[in-house]
Amino acid sequence: MFLDIIRRYKSEFSLILTVAFCLISMFSQAKVLSDAAKSGTRVLDFFTGTLTAIGSDITSLVDSYRSYDALKLERDALRYEIKEMKNLRLKIAQLDAENSELRNQLGLTLPEDYPYLQAEIISQDPDNWFRTIIINKGSEDGVEPHMPVIAIQAEKSTETEEKNGSQISNVKLVQGVIGKIVQVNKKSARILPIVDQYSRLGVKVKKTAYWALLIGRNPYKEKPLLEYLSLSCLLRPGDEIVTSGGDGIFPKGLPIGLVDNFIERGANYQKAEIRPLIDMQRLDYVFVIQKKPETEKLEFEPLGADTIKSP
């Protein structure tokens, strides 16, 4: 009887079920469901990893039964490979030095205090309403939550020559902050872009060193907003905004963007729209700076008569 009713109204039952699921997950902010979704990914990763490990074990078992001659051949091959690897290491060191030199010449110096990792973007913006970026490097490659992510991009500019009025196209490379890692799986990681409405970033105006907060606004607006900037700072369109380093996540002085035309002076602070240096729509590769967040607590004693001791 009950089954007959379900069969007859299966679409309506399905609709109620799915709509209820969506509403409950949104009302409850989907904490439990999010964990379940993440666990699902972990389970898949676990099975993939296990199958790979079993495959390697079988291969090594078969290898151990090989004849002595085969082992000898393998040893010779490995010796040759070691020699090749040594040469390769030398070559890598040379290329690394050359790469640093070229970067210096172009003015694109990645932070040298921290190692960095190049990653490819494997998924971006599944919908027009949200900005989300997923890269192909994960915990196995040393990526951890809160690691800063930057990118280098070619920017085309057209200049008109004064003498004959002809236009010349220039291509220059720009470097800028993309966001930070917020979720890490074994072989992938998710970036929270600076334009996202949940992004908060400690920044400063490069020319005056005044500190402020950069707040992402997507999907409300594409350009992030510079907030809590002191009225003493004379802000002009085109001023460069860099990381302050005060949030403990981003290294100091990484370029972020330029002040756009919208500048508003309030009663206590001023705010401005920032045009990110990197066009998020044209991203292919990014660099993950392998810097761990400085979360050390500042355990100062409260100021008082006893705090300040005489020498």
């Binding site: 399905s14 989907a30 999010s34 939550p145 998710r190």
Partner: protein, 177 residues
Amino acid sequence: MIIDKIVIAAAVIISYFIQASVEFFKLGEIKPDFLLILTVFFGIFRGDFTGLWIGFFGGLLQDMNIGGLDVYEGGKAQYFLGIHALPKTIIGYITGKLAKGINKDSNFIIFIIILSLSLLKGFLIFFLVAIFHGNIAAKALFTIALPEAIYNAVIGIFWFRMLKWAIPHIDIEVKQF
């Protein structure tokens, strides 16, 4: 029919992949919603039941791709499950109900259906974002929802033909449940 379900699952996954990873179809800052087109396609040819479930699972895949809320402890990202799944489920259901008795081969009808349902999706997402997600400006309806709807409708005409070519047995009614 297991093969039928495999075909549907493959269509959802391929559409999701095209949606999330292929930038070829991007026009300015707008890209078409292939999962919505797929939902409408199955809603029209297979009815409300198939349409709503495809919409639901397709939307869930998109929701799982959107993390963002940064929880400092443990560096977890919060998923917003439902923000795409709910509109697409409703669209799948409505399409199935609307599709009875329409000329499924008419490009004009396909265009109008996708256009109106894409606009409905835009409105639903707008309100869901406003209620559950945070700030959003009404301007987004004109800068995101409207261009996306028009683009979906144009691409939809070609995509429908391609899907019909890829899934030739789509017209055959399948007894479900």
